[in-house]
Amino acid sequence: MTELLEVVLRLALILVAFLTLPLLVGQAEHKAMAHMQSRLGPMYAGGFHGWAQLVADGVKFAQKEDLVPAAADRTVFKLAPAVGLIPYLVVLVAIPVAPGRVAQELDAGIFFVIAVMGIGVLGSLMAGWASANKYSLLGGLRSAAQLMAYELPFLLAAASVAMAAGTLSLSGIVEAWEPWWLLWQLPGGVVFFIAGLAELQRPPFDMPVADSEIIFGAYTEYTGLRFALFLLAEYVGIVVLAALTTVLFLGGWKGPFDTALGGAPGVVWTLVKIFALSFVVIWLRVSYPRLREDQLQRLAWQGLVPVALGQLALTGVVAVAIS
């Protein structure tokens, strides 16, 4: 009975994190982006500096009509937002936030996480194919091309850490992590983060939804709640990517001060790192223009893949040298 209660409690916590963290990131994006462009951002909703803007947006989305184009493949069209969103919820289950604090400890956690994250992109592929719209189709195909190109460096970079730690368990990787890995795994970390950004189709890698040329890519035909689900998926994706980068490359719950010596508890360190990385995601979005499709492919194949392979070799050599 207590076991069941604990599982329910853990899942409830995951759900709360799933629903609140993306909103925090979204609000932070509203405000940070505005101030980076010398604007104020939302100021009215909720009274104090527009803190309730995303709540208001949610209410607006919920009120909108749920439209399905006449020529669309109805089932697939309706299913796509869920396929885009749920994988991220599932990934959250496997991410450790503190020693022993993980909803479900998995021995092959890193495999699980990366496999499931790949499914998320299928959502926009399905949306693109099912919409019966040329722009959606183009967006969907670009999503597919981007997924193909960036999944490889993403995987290779993650594999490098797993090799270094000698385990596939996410908690195990954090346990094995030491501060000097920041330098050792730096190229891998950068590749992982950039490839993750590209998989989330965040600017500057938002070619699949490039609004100035293909309207909104795969999501063109979506309205109301289904569209909101896609948006939510993007922000959960940011949280998940930041959390994964934290766990794999930044030492997860380990902080510069030991908990026993009066340092902050592990959860705080994890959250601080996640929010710092989320800020970087926003920062990159504001600073860089969108990459063209060919530049995007070139960056993946000629930039990230060789760096990731080099990191893998380096990790192998150093790992053997240490042992």
Binding site: M36, S38, R39, L284, S287
Partner: protein, 170 residues
Amino acid sequence: MKMPGLVKGLAVTLGTMGRRSVTQQYPDVKPELPPRSRGVIALLEENCTVCMLCARECPDWCIYIDSHKETIPAPEGGRERQRNVLDRFDIDFSLCMYCGICIEVCPFDALFWSPEFEYSELDIRDLTHGKDRLGEWMQTVPPPPAHDEHGVRAKEVDAARKAADKALEQ
């Protein structure tokens, strides 16, 4: 030191975030207008002699003036005098292009710029302000800004000073 473009981009956005944003929260916070802002034209009716210069110089013909002559009874040992009485002084702000020529040309300082700008109307006809409304704007006319310390002095000042110096020498 030359920064790579990618780093410079990040530095620019971060720097901008640290600075105050330029957004003005207009309806909540009134804007700080520069001196001599041209918001609306105010009329000081007592100074108007119905010389019609403003109406004639107005490029848009948006000033409408009506008047009649009034005879002031002769004081002891004098003769009767006539004076102009202003009946109507309308400015149609839907035509006005805010050039300020009427104010420049007025020889008796009857017209002034006021910085007030919130007088939009739902009906275009209401943008024609009569002399009462134009008179009300007088209360919003700010005192003229002080002269620039380093500006060129008025010729009159120099002439007067020269004359005073000369008088002192003698």
